[in-house]
Amino acid sequence: MIAALGRWVLNGIGRTGYATRMFVRLTMMLFATLRRPQLVIKQILFVGNYSLLIIAVSGLFVGFVLGLQGYYTLNRYGSEQALGLLVALSLVRELGPVVAALLYAGRAGTSLTAEIGLMKAGEQLTAMEMMAVDPVRYVLAPRFWAGVIAMPVLAAIFSAVGILGGYVVGVLLIGVDAGAFWSQMQGGVDVWQDVGNGVIKSIVFGFAVTFVALYQGYEAKATPEGVAGATTRTVVFASLAVLALDFLLTALMFN
């Protein structure tokens, strides 16, 4: 039993090292990837454009709920004027990057894992290696950087649509004063402190989620069950990584 524990620990450390090496390799491939922008653009279409609808619709509804719930709470203190501030700060600082990253993990991360996993199961990756084509460079790196680019864009769209959703519920339906809604928001949201840090968060989430998805796909067992398991693990690990990183970043940035 002690031997099993030791093997488990050693394996874990080994896997961490392997994952770190792969992460560094992918990161270093920025310039090599940018020399072939067509590959990245194709992947941005795949992970970004196709995630746009779910991100925008979810952002709208999150904004609706924030508007309703925020009004309900603030109304008790007679300060429903601060609704705009509440909606904007919650979205820009926390909900925008985090929920967008979770949705992105579900929508784009899983399909990346499944795609890479099936490529592996179909021995396409092995075939590339046989032809002296580095699969990490031509398959993984463009997808990795496409994810890193698409994530902040998606998070910004999520936040913007969410604020509009809060405006629709708060101002148009409930009847909070429109001037107070926007001016309180502008008084309380700082461009660098709040919006800028939200963007930094979403970039970090982009790195984390895309890397988890690609790693799980690349390391999947080359069987149908292996690909299925890898896809599940992508969602679980990516979501946990996003939430843990969010706590860390919030503690670092906003105190």
Binding site: I44, L45, N49, P152, L154, I157, Q186, V191
Partner: protein, 169 residues
């Protein structure tokens, strides 16, 4: 490298993201009021700043003319030093006075500037010493209770022994 239909959609996606960021910066944030025009800084000494925060507005006649940039403590005079940046387009006389006011009953605190009558204007790095501290509710209640107690004590004393002093009730 030839253009493809794909470029169009990806370009649209990125532009949409840029528009969203711009919306967040201009409409939700205070980029528009974050003036890039030149300002001059003035130091204010307060006995008590209450809950004044950095970036709180500085208003004169109700119009925002600047912002609080920094709040620090002076260990020599045991006073709070508030540094404010006023837009250069609003010069103020040297003998202006400042007070910390509250927007509404429980609203955020801001600095009110009352212009003086001096012909010299405030320059960068000047300080204003005529200040009025923030109203701290606890002190106010304490003072009220103390006065009340003093009043009732004085009236009791007047009723029993000493002749009433003029003006005491």
């Amino acid at each position: 490298m030839k253009k493809t239909a794909l470029d169009f959609w990806v370009g649209l996606f990125v532009l949409l993201g840029a528009a969203a960021l711009l919306f967040l910066a201009l409409k939700a944030g205070n980029m528009s009021s974050l003036s890039f025009q030149s300002t001059y800084t003035v130091k204010l000494d307060f006995d008590n700043v209450g809950s004044l925060k950095p970036r709180a507005p500085v208003k004169s006649a109700g119009v925002t003319v600047g912002r609080v940039t920094q709040i620090s403590f002076n260990p020599q005079s045991y006073q709070a030093v508030v540094t404010i940046a006023i837009d250069s387009q609003y010069p103020f006389p040297k003998d202006s006075s400042a007070q910390i006011l509250t927007a509404g009953l429980l609203g955020e605190q801001y600095i009110g500037l009352l212009p003086g009558a001096d012909t010299d204007m405030l320059k960068n790095g000047d300080s204003i010493t005529m200040t009025q501290s923030a109203v701290v509710l606890e002190n106010l209640i304490g003072q009220f209770l103390y006065n009340k107690a003093a009043d009732s004590g004085a009236s009791k004393g007047a009723a029993t022994s000493t002749p009433p002093a003029p003006g005491a009730k």
